[in-house]
């Protein structure tokens, strides 16, 4: 039976044991199965404050705080069963009523006949250790919460590139829970070619100590769990923990800044395009007008119905196409300043639908307008151009018999105009480029229709989006602010 003491006759060996017990720093207490203290060493006196004379003969309850009294019965029950209670952490109370954190090991004491007659309890004061541990935990907690509350992503890697720490912002930025990243190679978070080269960069740095990013910081590309990439500013610091080289990376998401820069660049480009378009338009339209007029005059002198007269008509038609292109370009590059006024979209839509019905492609197509009258703040002329464009797209998409529904629907402060067609829908790879200027799928198109439509709608404080519902077809949704109530005007 290991861990069980045997009562021996009071001989020399027993005297040695007593000396060992007495000199121990740990509190060693002997007690009966009823919990009566029968021995009490110097360690017990130093720990609990009672002398042996004071303690012996008393119940061990003497050093158990009231809220822990139930433990006594449980421990004595275990002992009576011949079981040992090891490294039991609990609280005891001293003579001067201080509470101590102690770690106890309590073993049964068996007499020569093999009967359990009592228990030995060895106690160690772990109050200080507990306090240090708590302080350490609090300190770690504090650093952890600082790191986790940081807006920027923070991660730590070891010299092999394994991720040692990954804060909450990093989880949000990369879309990985920390558990999926810790212990993995940090190149998990990088797209190619960095993914493949990072180990090389690290090995080179560890060999040469030549700093290319450490202490400098630079713009890099991050890779999210979903496979998307994003611009991020990375600064790297080096540290040594327990002789081990570690690197801390702080990553600042640049998505918004890059988006803003892109937007500003696009605006600047559009402004330049607008200036250029105005000049080009004049330089092109003026001669086009002359050519068109002169060709018409000459054509008028040709025998009607002759081949030459037909060719002249074709020339005029081509000139008109060129002129339409110039018009589209100008509308996109120099959109007129919208002049907002309360407009009822219903009759406006009826008018545009009336025009669309006359399109040669719309013969087999039913176009219907639904929904209530409403009042939006819009520039009627610009809105007409947009709806006309969207309707013609729908008609061209259907290319045969079909249905186009134009629905007006007030939605809180906005008026929603939805144009839904029964056409073939739009492939996803085309869908994301729909509003890109000069992108077109038509054989003869400038690719400016929808980008111009968006400029117009946004200039009127509205939004436009295109969806392809799973049921098929395409749905264009325009939302414009509804007119403010009369009292507010």
């Amino acid at each position: 039976m290991s861990g069980v003491s045997h009562f021996k006759p009071d001989d020399e060996y027993s005297g040695l044991l007593r000396a060992i017990v007495e000199s121990s720093d740990e509190a060693i207490i002997g007690k009966t199965l009823d919990g009566i203290i029968v021995s009490w060493n110097g360690g017990a006196q130093r720990t609990y404050g009672y002398t042996a004379a004071e303690a012996i003969g008393q119940s061990i309850a003497l050093i158990i705080p009231p809220e822990h009294q139930a433990e006594l019965e449980r421990i004595l029950g275990e002992i009576a069963q011949g079981r040992r209670v090891a490294s039991y952490e609990t609280v005891r109370i001293t003579r001067d009523r201080r509470l101590l954190n102690v770690s106890l090991t309590i073993s049964p004491i068996v007499d020569t006949a093999g009967c359990i007659v009592g228990a030995s309890a060895i106690g160690r004061d772990i109050t200080e250790a507990k306090r240090v541990e708590a302080a350490l935990r609090a300190s770690e907690e504090r650093y952890r919460s600082i790191i986790d509350s940081a807006v920027d992503a923070i991660l730590v890697i070891d010299r092999r590139g394994r991720v040692e720490a990954f804060n909450a912002a990093a989880e949000r930025l990369f879309g990985y829970p920390a558990g999926e990243v810790l212990g993995k190679n940090v190149n998990l978070l990088m797209p190619q070619p960095y993914h493949g080269e990072h180990d090389v960069y690290m090995a080179r740095y560890l060999a040469t100590r030549e700093k290319r990013i450490i202490g400098i910081g630079r713009e890099v590309t991050g890779l999210r769990k979903d496979g998307t990439t994003f611009p991020v500013h990375l600064s790297v610091g080096e540290m040594t923990i327990d002789g081990e080289t570690m690197f801390t990376g702080i990553l600042h998401d640049l998505t918004a800044r890059v988006a803003l820069e892109t937007q500003l660049r696009e605006q600047a480009a559009l402004t330049r395009l607008g200036e250029m378009a105005a000049v080009v338009a004049h330089e092109v339209k003026n001669p086009l007008t002359g050519i068109r007029g002169a060709v018409q005059i000459i054509g008028g002198r040709l025998p009607a119905g002759s081949r030459d007269a037909e060719v002249v008509k074709e020339i005029v038609a081509r000139i008109d196409t060129l002129n339409d292109l110039m018009k589209d370009l100008l509308l996109f590059a120099r959109p007129p300043q919208p002049r907002l006024a309360p407009v009822d979209p219903r009759p406006l839509l009826e008018t545009v639908v009336g025009l669309a019905r006359q399109d040669p492609g719309a013969r087999a197509i039913t176009i219907q307008v639904e929904g209530p009258s409403d009042t939006v703040m819009a520039d009627a002329e610009l809105l007409k151009l947009v709806v006309q464009n969207v309707l013609l797209n729908a008609v061209h998409a259907i290319a045969g018999p079909g249905l186009v529904r134009v629905v007006v629907q007030p939605v809180e402060s906005m008026c929603r105009i939805t144009v839904t067609d029964t056409g073939p829908g739009i492939p996803p790879e085309v869908r994301e480029k729909l509003f890109t200027p000069f992108f077109t799928t038509k054989a003869r198109g400038t690719g400016l229709g929808l980008s111009t439509a968006r400029r117009f709608i946004e200039a009127q404080g509205g939004t436009i989006r295109i969806d392809c519902p799973p049921a098929g077809g395409t749905s264009v949704t325009i939302e414009l602010p509804r007119s403010a109530p009369a009292a507010a005007v």
Binding site: H282, R292, A294
Partner: protein, 142 residues
């Protein structure tokens, strides 16, 4: 280049019989525009005088004996690209209707021209055969 003069060879039904044909000054730096307008208006019974810039336009308007009855004026000329010429014409010949032609007239230009009393602002390109009736309409509205 001196302003050239085209004379009507045939009578137009819109012209009053026994009166001098109305004289139209066409001002544009684009030769083909002047020529096609000249042809179309001459065929409609008008006498057409051409000017290729603002200087020639002013000279033609100062010709008391052959003063134009109407001006077809390009907004942008080599020596004028604002409403200054229109202002001059309206001041010196307030009874002469002016039809302004623009290749890219902004809303401000159109409004400004109409406020100065232009009879109409038309954008290029236009239907050359429609011009004769527009001219007749402007002359009738005097």
């Amino acid at each position: 280049m001196e302003p050239r003069e085209f004379s009507s060879a045939s009578f137009s039904p819109i012209m009053p019989i026994n009166s001098q044909p109305s004289r139209v000054l066409v001002v544009d730096d684009e030769l083909l525009i002047r020529w096609s307008l000249g042809e179309a208006l001459t065929a409609a019974g008008y006498t057409v005088v051409e000017g290729k810039d603002a200087a020639e336009a002013r000279q033609a308007l100062r010709d008391i004996d052959h003063r134009p009855d109407l001006v077809l004026l390009d907004y942008r000329l080599p020596d004028s690209d604002d409403l200054g010429l229109l202002t001059t014409i309206r001041r010196e010949a307030p009874t002469v209707p002016v039809i302004l032609m623009t290749a890219h007239g902004t809303a401000e230009v159109v409004r400004g021209a109409l406020e100065l009393g232009a009879y109409r602002v038309i954008s290029k390109p236009f239907e050359v055969h429609d011009m004769a009736s527009l001219v007749a309409e402007a002359l009738a509205a005097r």
